[in-house]
Amino acid sequence: MTTAASTTRELLPHEAYVPGAHWRNAQDEAEAAKLGMWLFLGTEVLLFAGFFCAYAAFRLWYPDNWHDASRYYLNWKIGFANTVVLLLSSFTIVLAIRGAQTNRKWMTLWTLVITQACAAFFLIVKLGWEYAPKIAKGELPGANFSYDHAQGPYDHIFLSVYWISTATHGFHVFVGMVVIAWAMWKTLKDHYGPRHYTSLENIGLYWHLVDVIWIFLFPLLYLV
C-alpha cells in the first residue's frame, strides 16, 4: 500500500530540454511534428475523397456520356506533361531533404529551385492551356456551360467535377509553392542542417501528397 506523499521529482539535467520548452527531448519534438503532418495529410486525402465520391457517383450514373466528355474536353497530352513535371518535382524535393541531411546547402537550394520551376510549369500549363481556352469556349461547370457543340446531356456535370477537383488541386500546388519559397528562404539563412530539417521534411511530405492526388486525378479525368 502506497501513500502518494511526494509524487514529483526533480528533472534530471539531460531532461531539461529547452528549445520548445514543453518537450522532453528533440526526438519527441520532431516525431510529433511528423505525426501531426501525417494526420494533416490524412485530412487532405479525405477532403479529396469527397471529389472522388462525387466522381464515382456520376460516372456510375452517366457512364457513356462521361467517357465521351473525358475524351472530348480533355487533352491527355497536356495532362501527361503535367504529370511528368510533378513526378520530377517530387524527386527533386527528396534531393533537397538529402541536401539538408548531408549539410549541402546549395544542393538543397538548387533542387528547391527546380521544384519551384516544375510547380510553376504545372500551374502555367493548367491556367494557360486548359482553363483559359475552356473559359473562352464556354466549357464551364453546371449552369454556366455554354459550349455549342455539346457531346451529351451531362457534359456540364463532368466539367463541374473536372473544374472543382482540379481547381482545388491547383490551389494546393499554389500553397505548395508558397511553403517551398519559405523553405528556400530558410535554406539561405542556414536554418537547415543534418539535425534540423523537420519542417523541410514535412513540406516534402505535403508536396508528395499534392503529387499523389494528381496521379489519381489524371487517369480518372483524362484517361477513363
Binding site: 502518494a4 479525405l46 456520376f58
Partner: protein, 586 residues
C-alpha cells in the same frame, strides 16, 4: 512561479500569476494551453447563451398553435420585436412569419452544433486538462492551438454576421435543394462560417492526437491514462477523419450556390440525396464528436465522487474506440426515407451495432456506483442526471434505427426529443458537471455547493419537462420545423415551453454561482474531491507549466482502494479494510 527550470517568458507572462486578468496582451498572444482553454470556455459559453436565447424564442413561438410572437398581420408582441429584429425583418426585408421562425431554429441549431457543442468539451476542458492529466507542460503544438482558437472566433463571427445580415433558413443540416435555391438571407456566408469552424476543429484534433502520442509522462502507458484522455483521444481521431468530409461537402455547396455546378441539382442531372450522403458521412460521426468527451467526463466524475475504482477500465476505453470506428458506417440511417430498401436494411443493422459499445459504458458506470460511498454534490448529481437522460436518449435510438418505425417517426418531434436527450441530456449535462468538477482547479475558487445543486435540479427537471413531452408529440405526428400546429398539440407544446423556462432558470442559477465564485469564492484546496489523476496533484490553479517538477506516475488513475489521494488526509479517505482471505474482489 516556483521552481521552473526553463525561461518560460515565451508564454508572454513574466512572473506573476499565469492567469492574471489584468494584462490583456498576455491573453491575446498566449500559447499556454490553460489560457487558450479558458478563452475557449468563455467563447463557447457565449455561444451557448446565444443558442439558448434562440431556443427560448422558438419555444415561445410554439406556445400557441397560431403565431404569437409575430402575428400574420405583422403586429408583434414584445418578444416578437426581438425575433424580427434578429432575423432582419425590421430592416425592410419582406419576410413572412414562417421565414422568421425558420431563421430562429436555424440560428439555434447551427450555433449549438458548430459553435457550442462540438468545441465545448474538447477545446475548453480538454485543452486545459488533457496535458495536465498526461503530466505534460503543454499540448504538442501550442501555436497551432492558439491558431485554432482564432480560427474558431473568426468562423463564429462569420456565422453570426450571416444571421445578423439576413438570417439563414435551412436548418443546421443545410439540406439541398432548399439550401441551393433559397435567395433569403446569407446562406452562403453561413456555410463558409461552418467551413472555417471545421478547420479549427481539425487543428484541435491533430494537436490532441499528437499530444497523447508524444507527451505522456515517461512511464505512463496507454492503460495508465485517465478515461477522459481516452475519450478526448477517440474524439480527436474522429475530428481529424470526419471534418474534412464536411469541409468538402460545404465547399461543394458553396460552389453550387455561387457557380451552379449542378452536382446537387436535379434540373442539371445532379442529385440532392448525394448531398445528404455527404453531409451525414460527417455529421453522424460528428454526433460522437459531441458525446464521447461527455462520456469521458462521466467516467471521471463517477469514479472520483464514488471514490471507487472504475469498473471495466479497458471496456470503457475500447468502447470509445469501437464507437469511433462504427460511427463511420451508419450515416445513412438519416436517409431511411430517401433511399432504397436494400440500403436501408444494411444501415439499419449497422446502426444497431452502435448501441452495444454505448450500453457497455452505461453498465460500467452503474456498476462503479454499486456499493460505493457516493458523495452528493453538484458534479455527482450531474453524473446521475446524465445516466438517466442519456439512457433514455440512447434507448430511443434503436427504435429510430428500425426502418418501419422510422418511416413514421422521421422528421417528427420524436427525433427532436431523441437527439436532445443525447446531446443536451448527455453532452451538455456532462459538460456542466465537468465544469463544476474542475472549476476549483481551473480558477482556484470553490463554488457554492448548495446553489450548484439547486441549479442542477432545476436543469434536470426543466430539461425533462421540455423534451419528454416531445416524444409524445412525435409519436402523435407533430412534424419538426413548423411554426404552427393543429390545436390538439397545444397542451403538450405548452408543457414543453414551460419546461424551457425552468431550464433557463437553472442555467441562470449556474451562471450566478460561477460569477459569485469568481468574485468571492473560498480558495480551493489542491484536491477538493480526493481525485487521483495528475491534475489533483497540481496547484489550484496550476502553475505556468502545470507542475513545479515533472510528476512521477506511482499509481493508476483509479486506484482508490490502494492510495490515499494526494494532498488529502488519510482520515478523510480511509482505505478499505483488507478483504478477508478467500473472498473475491477486484
Amino acid at each position: 512561479m516556483s521552481g521552473g527550470h526553463h525561461d518560460v517568458s515565451y508564454l508572454g507572462v513574466r512572473g506573476g500569476h499565469w492567469y492574471s486578468w489584468k494584462n490583456v496582451w498576455s491573453w491575446v498572444y498566449t500559447i499556454d494551453h490553460k489560457k487558450i482553454g479558458v478563452m475557449y470556455l468563455a467563447a463557447v459559453l457565449a455561444a451557448f447563451a446565444l443558442g439558448g436565447f434562440a431556443a427560448l424564442a422558438v419555444r415561445m413561438e410554439l406556445f400557441e398553435p397560431a403565431r404569437t410572437v409575430v402575428n400574420a398581420a405583422g403586429e408583434s408582441v414584445t418578444t416578437g420585436q426581438w425575433l424580427t429584429w434578429a432575423t432582419g425583418e425590421e430592416r425592410g426585408k419582406q419576410i413572412t412569419p414562417n421565414n422568421a421562425y425558420n431563421r430562429m431554429f436555424t440560428l439555434h441549431g447551427t450555433v449549438m452544433v458548430f459553435l457550442f457543442i462540438i468545441p465545448s468539451i474538447p477545446a475548453a476542458l480538454g485543452n486545459i486538462f488533457l496535458p495536465i492529466m498526461l503530466g505534460a507542460k503543454d499540448v504538442a503544438f501550442p501555436r497551432l492551438n492558439l491558431l485554432s482558437w482564432y480560427t474558431y472566433v473568426f468562423g463564429s463571427l462569420f456565422a453570426i454576421w450571416s444571421v445578423i445580415r439576413g438570417g439563414v433558413e435551412t436548418g443546421w443540416t443545410f439540406y439541398t435543394p432548399y439550401s441551393t435555391t433559397t435567395d433569403w438571407g446569407s446562406t452562403t456566408s453561413m456555410i463558409l462560417g461552418a467551413f472555417i469552424l471545421g478547420f479549427s476543429s481539425i487543428f484541435t484534433g491533430i494537436n490532441f492526437v499528437a499530444t497523447v502520442h508524444k507527451l505522456r509522462v515517461p512511464g505512463m502507458g496507454w492503460f495508465d491514462m485517465p478515461l477522459f484522455v481516452w475519450a478526448i483521444y477517440a474524439t480527436a481521431i474522429i475530428q481529424v477523419l470526419a471534418t474534412p468530409v464536411l469541409g468538402i461537402t460545404l465547399l461543394m455547396l458553396v460552389f453550387e450556390r455561387t457557380f451552379h455546378i449542378g452536382i446537387f441539382d436535379p434540373a442539371l442531372g445532379g442529385d440532392p440525396v448525394l448531398y445528404q450522403h455527404f453531409f451525414w458521412f460527417y455529421s453522424h460521426p460528428a454526433v460522437y464528436i459531441m458525446i464521447l468527451p461527455g462520456m469521458g467526463i462521466i467516467s471521471e466524475l463517477i469514479s472520483v465522487h464514488c471514490r471507487k475504482r472504475i469498473f471495466g477500465y479497458r471496456a470503457i476505453a475500447f468502447s470509445s474506440i469501437a464507437i469511433a470506428a462504427i460511427s463511420f458506417l451508419v450515416w445513412a440511417h438519416h436517409l431511411f426515407t430517401a433511399q432504397t430498401p436494400a440500403l436501408n436494411a444494411v444501415f439499419s443493422a449497422l446502426t444497431f451495432l452502435v448501441a452495444i459499445p454505448t450500453a457497455i459504458k452505461v453498465f460500467n458506470w452503474v456498476a462503479t456506483m454499486y456499493k460505493a460511498s457516493i458523495a452528493i454534490n453538484t458534479p455527482m448529481l450531474y453524473a446521475m442526471a446524465f445516466l438517466f437522460c442519456f439512457t433514455i436518449g440512447g434507448l430511443t435510438g434503436p427504435p429510430l434505427a428500425t426502418i418501419a418505425v422510422d418511416i413514421h417517426l422521421h422528421d417528427t418531434y420524436f427525433v427532436v426529443a431523441h437527439f436532445h436527450y443525447v446531446m443536451m441530456g448527455g453532452t451538455v449535462l456532462a459538460f456542466i458537471g465537468g465544469l463544476h468538477h474542475w472549476w476549483p482547479k481551473m480558477f482556484g475558487k470553490m463554488y457554492n455547493e448548495r446553489w450548484g445543486m439547486v441549479g442542477c435540479v432545476l436543469v434536470f427537471i426543466g430539461f425533462n419537462i421540455t423534451f419528454f413531452t416531445q416524444f409524445f408529440l412525435g409519436t402523435q405526428g407533430m412534424p419538426r420545423r413548423y411554426a404552427t400546429y393543429v390545436d390538439e398539440f397545444t397542451t403538450l407544446h405548452q408543457i414543453s415551453t414551460v419546461g424551457s423556462w425552468v431550464l433557463a432558470l437553472g442555467m441562470i442559477t449556474h451562471l450566478l454561482v460561477f460569477l459569485q465564485s469568481l468574485v468571492a469564492g473560498a480558495p480551493a484546496p489542491k484536491n477538493p474531491w480526493g481525485g487521483l489523476t495528475f491534475e489533483w496533484e497540481a496547484d489550484s490553479p496550476p502553475v505556468e507549466h502545470n507542475f513545479p517538477h515533472e510528476p512521477v506516475i506511482v499509481h493508476g488513475p483509479y486506484d482508490y482502494d490502494e492510495v490515499v489521494p494526494p494532498h488529502c488526509d488519510e482520515r478523510d479517505y480511509p482505505l478499505p479494510a483488507p478483504l478477508p482471505a478467500g473472498s473475491r474482489g477486484h
